[in-house]
């Protein structure tokens, strides 16, 4: 109960900061839209490449990637906020005041989730307005958004672990770069079967590829690799929970 009370307080404060500060809110809303426009608009010819077999067209193909990207970066952006809280000294006061410190991690995670849900809603509305076709039914779409939500949780836990260990805004690239690499070493622009050479090898072993392909399958209404994708997403979330909690212990030890 005490953990939940702390989580509620931390989440409320974080969300209040984000939603009352345009310089924090606008980038997280605009960047996914911008990537969606740039990829789906500028590269739409790619669906004419021989062997490109996604049935709903290039806009829907890119939507799933941008949705997952927004989920991952929503988590990372929240990690920046945690690092800032440590730099300003707020997080240390929080560590002193909180009766249950696990609630701090839960609170930041909850805030990241709400923040991403807003971004996902805006992105989905824009995608539908520009004519994205959806092949899946309600259950399929629930599967897609649940996968993205798990990615968001995994990303915020990763970023929280880094922020609590390094406790400085300069840790930004450490939070951001691995997420960027994992995202872009998946089949971003074309299906896995069309990738060649080293990028095909990397994409094949990249766990996010399963999540991305399953997400595209959900949107198309022909789910594929669902079990593996959920196992990967849940596994990452569980792994980074431990990472974040160990980070919290590290922050506690640093005083």
């Amino acid at each position: 109960m005490r953990a939940l009370a702390v989580a509620r307080g931390v989440a409320w404060r974080t969300l209040h900061n984000v939603f009352t500060n345009p310089s924090l809110l606008i980038p997280s809303l605009v960047f996914p839209l911008f990537f969606f426009v740039a990829f789906a608009g500028g590269l739409s010819q790619v669906d004419n490449v021989p062997g490109f077999d996604f049935p709903l067209g290039y806009t829907a193909f890119q939507f799933v990637f941008v949705l997952l990207q927004s989920a991952a970066f929503g988590g990372v952006f929240t990690g920046f906020g945690i690092a800032r809280d440590f730099e300003t000294g707020f997080a240390r006061r929080l560590l002193l005041a909180a009766p249950n410190r696990t609630g701090i991690v839960l609170g930041y995670g909850g805030a990241a989730l709400v923040r991403w849900l807003v971004t996902a809603a805006v992105l989905t509305i824009v995608a539908l307005l520009v004519g994205m076709t959806v092949g899946g039914d309600g259950i399929d779409l629930l599967g897609l958004y649940t996968l993205a939500l798990l990615v968001n949780i995994a990303a915020v836990l990763w970023a929280a672990g880094v922020a609590m260990r390094l406790r400085t805004m300069q840790a930004g690239p450490v939070m951001q770069m691995p997420v960027f690499l994992v995202l872009f070493f998946a089949p971003v622009y074309v299906p896995l079967s069309l990738l060649q050479g080293w990028i095909h090898g990397l994409a094949t072993v990249n766990p996010l590829t399963r999540v991305l392909e399953a997400g595209r399958g959900f949107l198309a209404g022909s789910p594929t690799e669902v079990g593996v994708a959920f196992a990967v997403a849940l596994g990452l979330a569980a792994l980074f929970s431990l990472w974040a909690l160990r980070g919290l212990r590290s922050a506690e030890a640093a005083g």
């Binding site: 608009g41 739409s44 021989p50 690499l181 074309v190 069309l194 990738l195």
Partner: protein, 259 residues
């Protein structure tokens, strides 16, 4: 007079270069990140070379132009942020008390950008050649490419300096980065303009000067000597540089008058 001015410029350029070299993040990130994106895009979009009408069968060669522009963007941000720090720490105010001419500060700052631009160009070109890209314009083309890349860096660097002088805030300069990135992404960066299907996107890319900067560099790599592409590329790079330097000079005058 000109000797004194040259000495002032040299001193400030040296300071700009030394300051950049002392911050490894200012060198490593602008060098590594564009190459990383090149690797990702070239690997992921290689299949696009199978589209009818695609101008080359190597996406690495097609995309090699992009790091030159991204590198210039990073240089812009770093230079602008450094200048903003000079304003925030009072260095500019102290400079105003010396006989040093204000314009020497701007020229010196741009001198640092030229040095960084040359290093970046050599690295990007070297990596391109190492992964098998052949320059259709030959060794002379490589020279022209470096000159164009440096001119673009000066133009973007002057824009960064303008933002720094106008706002006096490093954060404001950093916030320009996404704006520049919008220009980059809404260009013919990833697809030739004639192959962009969506009408409005093609229109935006055609109106976007960054498309012509990329296409000029790209022409030297995959076409050879394309006079039209080069004229447009150099023309836009020169125009951006002239306008940006004029704006930065005006902002500098205002800033020094305020000090």
């Amino acid at each position: 007079m000109s000797n004194v001015f040259a000495g002032q410029v040299l001193t400030l350029a040296q300071r700009s270069v030394v300051r950049t070299v002392r911050q490894p993040a200012n060198i490593v990130f602008p060098l590594v990140f564009p190459l990383l994106l090149l690797a990702v895009n070239a690997g992921g979009l290689d299949a696009a070379t199978r589209l009818p009408g695609f101008p080359t069968n190597s996406f690495v060669a097609f995309a090699l132009a992009i790091p030159f522009i991204q590198g210039a963007l990073f240089a812009t941000m770093n230079a602008g942020t450094d200048l903003a720090r000079d304003i925030q720490t009072g260095f500019l105010n102290r400079l105003a008390l010396t006989p040093m001419r204000g314009i020497a500060l701007l020229t010196g700052q741009l001198g640092g950008i030229v040095a960084m631009g040359v290093i970046q160009s050599l690295v990007y070109l070297g990596v391109g050649l190492a992964v098998g890209v052949r320059l259709e314009s030959g060794p002379a083309g490589a020279l022209v490419l470096i000159v164009l890349a440096v001119l673009i860096s000066i133009g973007f660097g002057a824009l960064g300096a303008f933002a720094a002088l106008r706002t006096g805030s490093g954060e404001a300069v950093q916030s320009l980065f996404p704006v520049f990135f919008v220009f980059l992404f809404l260009s013919s960066m990833a697809m030739p303009r004639n192959l962009i299907e969506i009408d409005w996107f093609r229109a935006v890319a055609t109106a976007n000067p960054v498309s012509y900067l990329i296409e000029a560099i790209r022409s030297l790599i995959i076409v050879g000597w394309d006079e039209e592409a080069l004229a447009l590329g150099f023309g836009f790079a020169f125009a951006i540089t002239v306008v940006a330097v004029a704006l930065a000079s005006m902002a500098l005058r205002t800033r020094l008058a305020r000090s």
